[in-house]
């Protein structure tokens, strides 16, 4: 099977600093991916490499099986929208959309017009006179209306308020249902987007920390709380992300699956089990704390 995006052993150095090291990921067709990482994790660098705008120091990228560098056919599958914006500063909104429409093969003008109205963006305004939020809106419109088989949004919401972002998320899911495609949403606002994502890739300090189906991941991360001794005996042998004690009670976050039998045993001992939200899991994984296997009694 051909993957929409495949990264094989991608590394990138800027001088002596390593931005990415040995990234191996495979993104399937028509899925929504979340590329999650803190600022400086290497998200933008990776996406620039995927779109052949930046060259990797080593490794290779495949877009539907083809190398994107200087490959018109592969590049036509891609649309990337960046936080920093990538528009001509003297061109107005209407003209920017006009230009975009001639570059993206699947461009949907009705969608662009509708979003323009929903965002209440003035098409006569020149890009340099737009506020940060308006620039983000323009980027979002281009990204969605491009309907490119692989659409990448790299933190596209700078300057947008919560309502504006919600409008984006709603439009994204709506149009995705109408025309499924591979969408990569690079973000650190995880709680806002976690429900939209089918798969997530957590990037941390230039490496892939975790990757997989978002529900499966959620099904492997639990809070277990109760009497300290009881908690400790039940989680021994499990990967522990974090633990906190208050007197005799203890709350532990584990990153491991719990079998039905284990769950019943825990419940019988009055332990409370709940899922760890993706945002919280992300913080545990990227907060610098090491994941230790078992050994709670250290």
């Amino acid at each position: 099977m051909k993957y929409a995006v495949e990264c094989r052993n991608i590394s990138k150095n800027f001088g002596r600093t390593t931005a990415l090291s040995d990234i191996n990921i495979k993104l399937e067709k028509d899925k929504i991916y979340g590329l999650l990482g803190r600022n400086g994790a290497g998200k933008s660098t990776l996406l620039n490499i995927v779109t052949a705008q930046v060259f990797p120091s080593s490794g290779e990228v495949k877009i539907f099986g083809e190398t994107p560098y200087e490959n018109d056919r592969a590049l036509r599958h891609l649309c990337i929208v960046k936080e920093s914006g990538m528009f001509l500063k003297d061109v107005n909104v209407g003209d920017a959309l006009d230009i975009a429409s001639s570059f993206y093969d699947n461009w949907d003008n009705n969608l662009a017009e509708r979003l323009l109205r929903e965002f209440e963006l003035d098409r006569r305004k020149t890009y340099k006179n737009l506020s940060l939020g308006m620039r983000s809106q323009l980027g979002i419109i281009v990204g969605l209306a491009s309907r490119a088989p692989i659409t990448i949004f790299d933190e596209p919401y700078i300057g947008l308020d919560a309502a504006g972002r919600q409008l984006f998320y709603d439009a994204l899911i709506e149009d995705y249902m109408e025309k499924p495609r591979t969408i990569i949403l690079s973000t650190h606002l995880i709680d806002e987007v976690s429900n939209l994502l089918e798969d997530v890739i957590i990037l941390h300090k230039g490496t892939v920390k975790l990757e997989g189906n978002s529900e499966d991941i959620k099904n492997k991360a639990f809070y277990i709380s109760g009497i300290k001794d009881s908690v400790e005996s039940h989680v021994s042998g499990k990967k522990v992300l974090n633990k906190e004690e208050f007197g005799k009670t203890m709350a532990v976050a584990i990153f491991d699956s719990i079998s039905e039998k284990e769950r019943k045993a825990m419940e019988a001992d009055d332990l409370i089990i709940s899922s760890v939200p993706l945002q919280q899991l992300f913080i545990f994984l990227t907060g610098g704390k090491m994941i230790k296997r078992g050994d709670m009694n250290e």
Partner: protein, 124 residues
């Protein structure tokens, strides 16, 4: 507007529960068509694949069945199946907990039964 979900629970399980609740309450009768994946996705602002996972869970359990090209429907006997499943769950979740808690408080089983019998719902 989106209906908020409990972020401490798996989304697809919540979707399955929503459908089960609708069948138990009679909102959905056997043979009725269930919301589509896309309708759930729109309603809750979730990925359609996640909604599909919830629906498929119920298909595997025989609570829903698929009519090709039309959609998902509530199977015959779905209500009984759900009630049966919920009863087992009820025993596990509530009865066992109730008994354990009662033991801690030195309430005998007889006293507990009496309590249940004489308990009047506060809201009525």
């Amino acid at each position: 507007m989106k209906i908020p979900l409990d972020e401490n629970k798996l989304i697809y399980m919540q979707i399955a529960e929503v459908i089960e609740d609708a069948v138990i309450s009679g909102e959905l009768n056997e043979g009725d068509q269930v919301y589509s994946t896309n309708q759930f996705a729109r309603l809750y602002g979730i990925n359609p694949a996640t909604a599909a996972k919830g629906i498929n869970l119920l298909v595997e359990e025989g609570i829903l069945y698929k009519k090709r090209g039309i959609g998902m429907f509530v199977a015959e006997g779905a209500r009984n199946m759900i009630v049966g499943k919920r009863k087992t769950q009820f025993i596990e979740d509530y009865i066992s907990k109730l008994i354990r808690e009662a033991e801690k408080l030195n309430i005998t089983k007889e006293e507990l039964i009496d309590l249940i019998k004489t308990y009047e719902r506060g809201d009525k």
